[in-house]
Symmetry: C2
């Protein structure tokens, strides 16, 4: 009996060719391929779910974290593997928290992928060496969470623009003083001392989305 593998990735070329590669692994067969979490929900069959699902982190419609969470909820026996290009960011931790038992980079060697799938299937876990480097920093960030309010988050998004604080206040239907409070709180949380510093830090930490 082969290991049944599922794939979720928004890049068709990668999805299809990775599927082809995994089909070529002796022990594996591809059970389901999906473009994103939403797509997976429709394609996954409840009476014959795959053993392992590889999930890309960054996807439109329904991203890796939400997909992993949904799978842990609805298919707790499926082993989840996060697949990503950027080893940076505490997104790794988010994915682990969402139920992934491994985190692989897209530039790992095919052999390592095969080994990882095998180990996860037999032992239930796999640790890639590459990741461990940043582990301490990641856990540290995790222990010291930013803890940003919903309103602060909205303010942060609006602060990443040409708008003045007064305009942001009007936009959020709040007094300029309240906005002032948000600013001050975020300055402390991000350890910065100017709006520019705040914006830069928010971008680095992926707290805001830049519209092109």
């Amino acid at each position: 009996m082969k290991i049944s593998v599922g794939l979720v990735d928004d890049h068709q070329l990668f999805l299809k060719s990775l599927g082809l590669m995994i089909e070529n692994f002796d022990e594996c067969k591809v059970a389901v391929m999906a473009m994103n979490g939403k797509d997976l929900q429709e394609r996954i069959s409840s009476n014959d779910p795959p053993d392992i699902i590889l999930i890309d982190v960054s996807m439109p419609v329904m991203d890796g974290i939400d997909t992993a969470k949904w799978l842990t909820q609805n298919y707790p026996f499926i082993k989840l593997v996060a697949l990503s290009m950027n080893d940076s960011d505490r997104i790794i931790i988010e994915m682990i928290k969402a139920g992934c038992c491994a985190y692989l980079l897209k530039d790992t060697h095919p052999n390592e992928l095969e080994k990882a799938i095998h180990e996860i299937y037999t032992k239930g876990y796999y640790n890639s060496d590459v990741i461990n480097i940043n582990y301490r920093r990641l856990l540290q960030e995790q222990n010291d969470p930013l803890n940003i309010t919903e309103n602060e988050k909205l303010f942060l998004q609006l602060a990443c623009s040409d708008l003045t604080y007064k305009q942001i206040g009007i936009e959020m239907h709040l007094s300029e003083r309240t906005i002032d409070g948000y600013r001050e709180n975020l300055f402390h949380k991000f350890k910065v001392q100017s709006r520019v510093g705040l914006v830069l830090e928010a971008i680095r930490k992926n707290c805001v989305k830049l519209n092109p």
Copy 2:
């Protein structure tokens, strides 16, 4: 005689599996695979170069643009295809300028890739519909270059920080007034009206590098 294809991509999983897929295309064979431009320079054989090379845009060591330029210089008969995930940015134009005759997204369908390779081999070009949408804007940006001074560039980099203009002036050994002039010029060039707007636009246009 099969079409000989070369691949350049820093993500091993993608590189290897895409290679596998292209080998499966009836008309194609994979002649060379490389992790980046530097790697390609060493692997490419001058007596039997491939017909077509697919180049990923974002790579470490030697990126897609430099790789394409080098290939157009040294192997002008090889057809180049840019391969990328983000259709945004005028990087597309840069790649075309560097000698690419097509620009494909990583989420195109395998069939379209096969079709593209075939058309490029027979006709010498291929136009994906997806790209044409932004063409006008891209060309317009190209016609209206930003034309940023060396000093303005340095100022821009320093403006992306917690530093005040006064501190930036000291850092650059220039008067605060002069800095003021740089600011004003860049505000016009970037069509913004605040330092935050300037910083955001500079990040969008890849004029500055964010240190993590």
